[in-house]
Symmetry: C2
Subunit: 203 residues, 2 copies
């Protein structure tokens, strides 16, 4: 483990202590011993559809994208994961089934990885991890619920407004065509919305 990795892990340690201040040095050391630190290049793929998702991923720096493929072969963005958030394909990760999703890096990123077995082993030894884990899942479900409600009830403009209000930072960091894809809107429509020409104003 090199210097860079040490610094990276220290940063992760500070993050995790925010949520679980009670962790002992030994517990932290155990977590560290099971963590894999990884630098990923822009566009590098961390999960390919068809593979079983082997890891839970925490993003220390950078920005990842999770996307699926529709029947016609086009890509659809499921999720953006910026620094200090977690990502995995829960279905594939827990059930060890082939994933239908891809995860790649939009920006060069530093991530921390845990393999399924290591992470599950940590849970049994350090119960605090369950608390954190559940909190994260719950948060995620709340976000997802809002997204579905928006998708079935809002038009392109409203979805975009919600997006910029909720993720102003991500908007600045990802190409617009990915935002369009995340919103379920064509890139041309997104362009037009952004220019205030919600529809071609004729008058």
């Amino acid at each position: 483990m090199n210097i860079s990795s040490l610094i990276m892990f220290d940063e992760f340690e500070r993050y995790i202590r925010q949520y679980e201040p009670g962790l002992t040095r030994e517990q932290m050391q155990l977590i560290r011993s099971k963590s894999v630190l990884k630098k990923v290049r822009r566009r590098q793929v961390l999960l390919h559809e068809g593979e079983v998702c082997q890891h839970k991923i925490f993003v220390l720096r950078g920005l990842l994208r999770t996307y699926g493929t529709a029947n016609d072969g086009s890509e659809y963005v499921m999720k953006f994961t910026p620094e200090y958030e977690w990502i995995t394909d829960p279905d594939s990760y827990f059930n060890r089934t082939p994933s239908e999703l891809n995860i790649d890096a939009i920006e060069a990123s530093d991530v921390v990885l845990w393999s399924h077995d290591d992470f599950e082993a940590l849970r049994t030894v350090i119960p605090e991890i369950n608390t954190l884990s559940e909190k994260l899942i719950t948060q995620n479900m709340g976000v997802t619920q809002k997204r579905i409600l928006l998708n079935i009830s809002a038009n392109a403009e409203e979805k975009y407004q919600y997006f910029i209000a909720t993720y102003p930072d991500i908007l600045r960091r990802v190409p617009l065509h990915m935002v369009a894809s995340y919103l379920g809107v064509s890139r041309e429509t997104l362009t037009r919305i952004r220019q205030g020409q919600a529809v071609a104003a004729k008058s």
Copy 2:
């Protein structure tokens, strides 16, 4: 506790044993002591938006609906929950925040309820509940993921085709306008799709 309740709980017990056959008589008795059995009428409301969601709900018989309200006041169906499935508002339930969702009964139903505190207490005493709980959450996330992908990538017809292929039973049991709402499509559009007039065939 009356005869009907006893029979109802027995049925729930059989369900739970499928997943956790190792539960002892004592553990089962403990679960039973914390369960509230309830018969709900058609249209009866189990959660009102604005309230904190106090329960985890298991549907023994019948069919529930979870719905939200859009800005213009119209209702949007988030989820149908038929017998042998669970429902709660995870965000509200875990964080004790006011829910933005409503849960009501589409059919007269029998449900089993656990209050937040009782359920959380059961988890600590019966670790098997965690296993089950996590499995359910993961399943749910898989379903949700597919729904989002469909919503951002498919047109009304494709969404409907997926729905009838995946939930043929529910289609038969709920009014079509609720299916339309679930799909994020107007009831008129749903009618036309069902008649194969995907667009007005002119020739």
